[in-house]
């Protein structure tokens, strides 16, 4: 798919990357203005998978929007569930029993690890390394089995409910999670050997796509990208929601803001997530898993917002209620959207192969961007 516009003065040509390109991970199109192997101007084109999620949220009772939340970011659906139920609870003043909050944290963190594992495999696949995805999918499969045990689904979860969760966790789940933590800890050395010390990977990722802290701030970049640039900002620490303030965990940060740092930050984040899960399992309180919430949730007039740390960065829901069951306005701020917005600036004057590295290191999920 090339169209050449070779005029006398202009030797550049346009190259369409996507919407069917394997390394755009879904239906993202990037129109590249190229000069030979060099990218002059990458422009992402969004909207191929726009499904009007926000509008759907504004046209149905708030409970009925829950299944949609898991379909925006299908790789990391539980934090999206979490943000929405958190929003409804804040708006309508619904209490959540502590056990439910702990279950939410455990499952969200498991989901985060699963998401990072998928990213790890896919990123390296983009770079031409086929083997790591086999290992990361093997590990991710364990998480999916564990989560299937309680959520009933493997990908597009709809597990959280306003006031709690759908069902209680079982002993099998707890055992499985503990076994997984043990297994995963032993797997980090494999990734270290296979990827982090591999010279080809380092050469391709080091110094590629450097996002300076200033640039990250200007574009509202969040999540592992922001932390890779050396800014320690994590919603779980900055404005702890749910019961995150009960746990002791670190926020890993990078130094240079390049693709290698983003890799390192995510791998370290997995370890931190495991730490959170471990502590949550130890402290897991007894009690109900679903609190009292009205069948028909009336949203009082006024606005409320709720942010959570999804695997890709800050996810914020904003809601305006008008006293009825149906939200008057629902706005969703998704992380990948602002993360992608740095691409035109970052991708200027680099090699095409580096653009693939950069986009891989961004961990984009297109349905979440388009919504």
């Amino acid at each position: 798919m090339k169209s050449e516009t070779n005029t006398q003065q202009n030797q550049s040509f346009t190259l369409n990357m996507g919407p069917q390109h394997p390394s755009t991970h879904g239906v993202l199109q990037v129109i590249l203005e190229m000069d030979g192997e060099y990218v002059l101007d990458p422009q992402p084109v969004l909207g191929y998978i726009h499904r009007m999620h926000e509008k759907m949220g504004e046209s149905r009772p708030c409970r009925k929007f829950l299944p949609n939340t898991g379909r925006m970011d299908y790789v990391c659906a539980l934090p999206f569930n979490h943000g929405y139920v958190g929003l409804i609870e804040r708006a309508a003043g619904i209490e959540v029993p502590p056990r439910a909050e702990y279950i939410r944290v455990i499952t969200s963190e498991l989901n985060r690890v699963a998401s990072h594992l998928l990213w790890l495999g896919a990123f390296l696949l983009d770079l031409g390394a086929f083997t790591p995805i086999m290992y990361s999918f093997d590990d991710r499969e364990q998480i999916l089995d564990i989560l299937e045990e309680i959520t009933g689904s493997r990908l597009t979860y709809c597990y959280f409910r306003p006031g709690g969760v759908y069902q209680d966790i079982s002993d099998k789940f707890i055992e499985g999670t503990r076994a997984f933590i043990k297994r995963m800890r032993s797997r980090f050395s494999i990734y270290e050997k296979l990827v982090a010390t591999n010279i080809i990977f380092i050469k391709r990722a080091e110094g590629v796509g450097v996002i300076s802290p200033d640039m990250a701030r200007r574009y509202g970049v969040t999540g592992p990208l922001l932390r890779g640039s050396g800014i320690s900002y994590d919603i779980r620490k900055q404005e702890p929601y749910s019961v995150y303030s009960d746990f002791d965990f670190d926020v890993p940060v990078g130094e240079n803001g390049d693709s290698l740092d983003r890799y390192k930050v995510r791998v370290q984040e997995m370890e931190q997530s495991l730490r959170i899960i471990e502590q949550a399992l130890d402290k897991l309180p007894e009690g109900p898993y679903l609190g009292k919430a009205p069948k028909k949730i009336k949203l009082p007039p006024g606005d409320s917002s709720f942010s959570v740390e999804a695997a890709r960065g800050e996810l914020a829901y904003y809601l305006v209620g008008d006293g009825s069951e149906i939200p008057y306005r629902l706005k969703i701020r998704v992380p990948s959207y602002s993360n992608l917005s740095v691409l035109p600036e970052l991708g200027r004057g680099i090699l095409l192969a580096d653009l693939v590295t950069i986009m891989g290191s961004f961990d984009l999920v297109i349905p979440e961007i388009d919504r």
């Binding site: 149905r60 409970r63 009925k64 929007f65 829950l66 299944p67 379909r71 083997t131 086999m134 290992y135 093997d138 499969e141 089995d145 299937e148 045990e149 309680i150 959520t151 009933g152 689904s153 597009t156 709809c158 409910r161 759908y166 069902q167 494999i190 050997k193 296979l194 010390t197 591999n198 010279i199 080809i200």
Partner: protein
């Protein structure tokens, strides 16, 4: 010049270390399941397949009282419940219970809404079809067929 050779050396070493990992994995049991040639079992009884009606062990018939709460709770309006009055029977009798699985998001709202415990998730996961209509399930018939 020495930098050049040391780079080759470290590079070669990192490749060998990586190969060592794969070699070790080669000796371990195979984890890949050759689906669909091999079937996997549903590992959990909580698995959410499409919904199905629950039998009342006493009467041997469905538990559903055709109240329609599940249909009302469904975000996608997948469920159609119809009923009729019958002589000598208290309340309504279920005549149609249709599920349009093409629209179902397996959210669980219907199962939650039913306070009679008359529906549950099935364990069917291996479903494929050529037309949309194949996924319009007549759950009442399904219950009868299941004996």
């Amino acid at each position: 010049m020495s930098g050049y050779f040391s780079e080759i050396l470290t590079g070669g070493k990192s490749l060998l270390v990586g190969l060592g990992v794969t070699f070790k994995a080669m000796l371990q049991p195979v984890v890949t399941v050759q689906y669909p040639r091999e079937k996997t079992d549903v590992t959990s009884s909580n698995y959410r397949g499409h919904i199905e009606l629950v039998r009342n062990p006493e009467t041997g018939s469905f538990k559903c009282i055709a109240c329609g709460l599940c249909a009302k709770a469904c975000p996608s309006e997948c469920i159609t419940v119809k009923s009729e009055k019958r002589e000598g029977v208290k309340g309504k009798v279920l005549t149609v219970f249709q599920l349009d699985f093409t629209k179902c998001s397996l959210c669980g709202s219907c199962v939650e809404a039913c306070n009679k415990g008359a529906i549950r998730f099935s364990q069917d996961y291996n479903i494929a079809g050529f037309t949309k209509e194949e996924f319009h399930y007549d759950l009442l018939k399904r219950l009868e067929e299941m004996g």
